[in-house]
């Protein structure tokens, strides 16, 4: 009976995945919730993943370029991916045409070796067929597929409801804060073995689709800048050959695409003035680090 259960479950999963692929919307709920920020017709739009979400204060950015509040917004979200931002840019073409779009990227977006639900770009999963989805993620990463199915339905619902719900972050133009710093013993010892770089493989569909999305953004915005944010200063690239090698590969991947497609790439390996105490964990600054990081990023952007 257990074998029969497994067979029945696989068939049911395949059916559900097929349905999820049909209902999937590239714009996830987390991003949909922030789209009302675009109503102010901003000139500077920060998008991407958590390293933009928690690190860049768009109000300060607006101040620094001498523009009113609302001219800069942060629509990044946790584990955000270029494909989702591209979908928004296509949907809201008018709002992006005259804006500079600044997108953060992280290694997990391009690394096909990691398959955990939390790090997996959902829009890439949607571009695989049912068979490929199942062979890629089963049996150990079934939770990734379950997350995909759930988020597909949630995203579809969100897009059908067309509601711009107020979220806590909207008052801060899209910025979220990380108030606490993790204790030393919770931080990874070395980045070479960090989940972002696990089973390193940037030759698969993730890199292909996400880089393609970055390229497609170019003609939809006034200017596109892709930011490769830094890791916490406690990690020394010189001492960690494994990390350095993988990091250089993915930066090269993004830089090559930038040259080819016409977007700028800002590879920030360190931020002057930021210390370990300004970091909440190994990759995000805490509240104290936000102004320093924002000022530095703006100085490099030259909008």
């Amino acid at each position: 009976m257990l074998a029969l259960t497994a067979a029945a479950w696989l068939v049911a999963l395949a059916v559900l995945l097929a349905v999820a692929n049909r209902v999937h919307d590239d714009v996830p709920v987390l991003l949909s919730e922030k789209l009302s920020l675009l109503a102010s017709q901003p000139e500077l739009i920060f998008g991407g993943d958590s390293r933009m979400l928690y690190q860049v204060d768009p109000r300060l950015a607006a101040q620094l370029i001498g523009k009113p509040a609302g001219s800069s917004v942060n629509i990044a979200y946790d584990a955000g991916e270029p494909l989702a931002l591209l979908a928004v840019m296509r949907r809201e073409g008018e709002l992006f045409r005259n804006a500079q779009v600044v997108v953060s990227v992280s290694p997990f977006l391009f690394n096909d070796g990691i398959r955990q639900a939390v790090f997996n770009p959902q829009d890439v999963v949607a571009r695989l067929g049912v068979f490929e989805q199942m062979t890629t993620y089963l049996p150990l990463r079934v939770s990734t597929l379950i997350r995909f199915i759930r988020e597909a339905f949630s995203a579809r619902l969100e897009s059908e409801l067309h509601t711009a719900r107020p979220v806590q972050s909207l008052a801060a133009a899209g910025l979220f804060f990380l108030d606490n710093s993790q204790p030393e013993d919770r931080l990874p010892a070395a980045l070479g073995s960090h989940p972002h770089y696990a089973n390193w493989n940037i030759g698969g569909p993730k890199a292909r689709f996400e880089i393609g999305a970055l390229c497609d953004m170019v003609k939809l915005a006034r200017k596109v800048t892709v930011v490769v944010p830094p890791w916490a200063p406690r990690y020394d690239r010189a001492q960690d050959a494994s990390w350095r090698e993988k990091d250089e590969q993915y930066v090269a991947l993004v830089s090559d695409a930038g040259r080819r497609c016409g977007f700028d790439v800002l590879n920030i390996t360190s931020v002057p003035g930021v210390t370990q105490s300004n970091y909440a964990d190994e990759m995000h600054v805490n509240t104290s680090g936000i102004p320093i990081y924002t000022r530095y990023l703006m100085s490099r952007l030259n909008p």
Binding site: T5, A8, F153, L157
Partner: protein
Amino acid sequence: MLFSSYTFLFQFLPAVALAFAAARRHSPRAGILVLAAASLFFYGAWRPVYLLLLLASIAANFSLGLLMEDPLRRRTVGALGVALNLALLCYFKYTNFIFDSISALTGAPLPFVNVVLPLGISFFTFQQIAYLVDVMRGAKVERDIVAYTLFVSFFPHLIAGPLVHHAEMIPQFKRGRTSRSAALAARGLAIFAAGLFKKVVIANNLAQFVSPVFEHLDAGGAATPSWAWLSMLSYTLQIYFDFSGYSDMAVGLALMFGIRLPVNFRSPYQATSIIDFWRRWHITLSRFLRDYLYIPLGGNRLGEQRRYLNLMLTMLLGGLWHGAGWNFLIWGGLHGLYLSVNHLWQKWRGVAAKASPSNHLASAAAWAVTFGAVVIAWAFFRAKTLAGAWAMLSAMFGFGGGSSAYASPGILRVMDLPILVGEQHLLVIGVCVVVLSLAIALSLPNVAQLYGYREYRRPPEPSSWLRWRPNFAWALLSALAIAVSLFGMWQRLEFLYFQF
């Protein structure tokens, strides 16, 4: 750890099954030790500190039992033990209710005591009270601490019943040979699959028509009659499929280990009288209330008036057992009233009427009255506030009034996957779901009949038109039930009876 959780199904259960099978190869006693250890781990996984409470309760009652071997001290020690158990239950379950009630009556400000209700405390306390009372009445004192611990803590029934009796459990743990076999395990697994399906697929999907409406009414809102009826009928079916599903899972799990638990539900919504309903609904609680409350109060031996008084007292306390609140008390009181009316009706009609040939129309009317009475009482059971219950009943019968009528966002959740269908379509779908669920509850044999289950030292359930067989077709059906249920397990809805 819920039965319908991935942790339980894919980690705990296989590990325990393998450890039990290995231990059984050594000796039956070793198997019992494994089950006892696993049960304590199961309880401790929720909140380790309350494992100490469970262990203390077991140790205290076991020791009191030993002290009661002395006939001179038996009654005193027994009474003390019952009082201690009730005090423990009172502290954890009723402190704030008592304080609130005193405050409301006297106006005296009494503090709110931040007590977390230990899971299953009502169940394991009642089971041990029954043990002490039986020893007071002359039953054999249990001297085997492992068997006693397992009787109280056996994980299939620990959290939400069935309420087991020591005389039907402990002898099973002491058999030199258990009746384990592949067929028995297959039957257990099939019963578990049916229970899982009832809980995860039927009850959980019905919940979406219940919670938002009751929340709205409890907050002072109103509802249209159509939403009120849909919500009330959905809850009526949700609580049945939820609780009976849990009981079925418990029975199935125990059977996988060769242990037979008592049946807790026998198609209660097929009942044609309230007396009949209580013979089919939460049977093990009814049995406890009858044997350890109603009969000691005098039962029906002290005249008609005392009988109705005893019935009312028993049902009021039965209501309070479910939760510390006036709504539960009213629910119990209503059922006490129903039962009294039912007994009066039977007396008025006389024995001759009972013997008369069955009349389909009369049976249908009797069913409708019984079902309607049960549905009305559930309004008090489900609502968080008295006003919420009244608002529900008012809305059902067209007297709705309140700050604002409930408006659904029109989102259907199929196994928690949201689909926008619009409010009108949602109502229609809800009605279809209720009709289908009611048809299952009314027309299909219950799990005990379907699987030919046999309670300990009881004959098998009477045969029904549909009967499980250990063959491919039934295995496929069970496999489908589990497979579909696995997709519903990603939503974390607790069993309704966990709160009791």
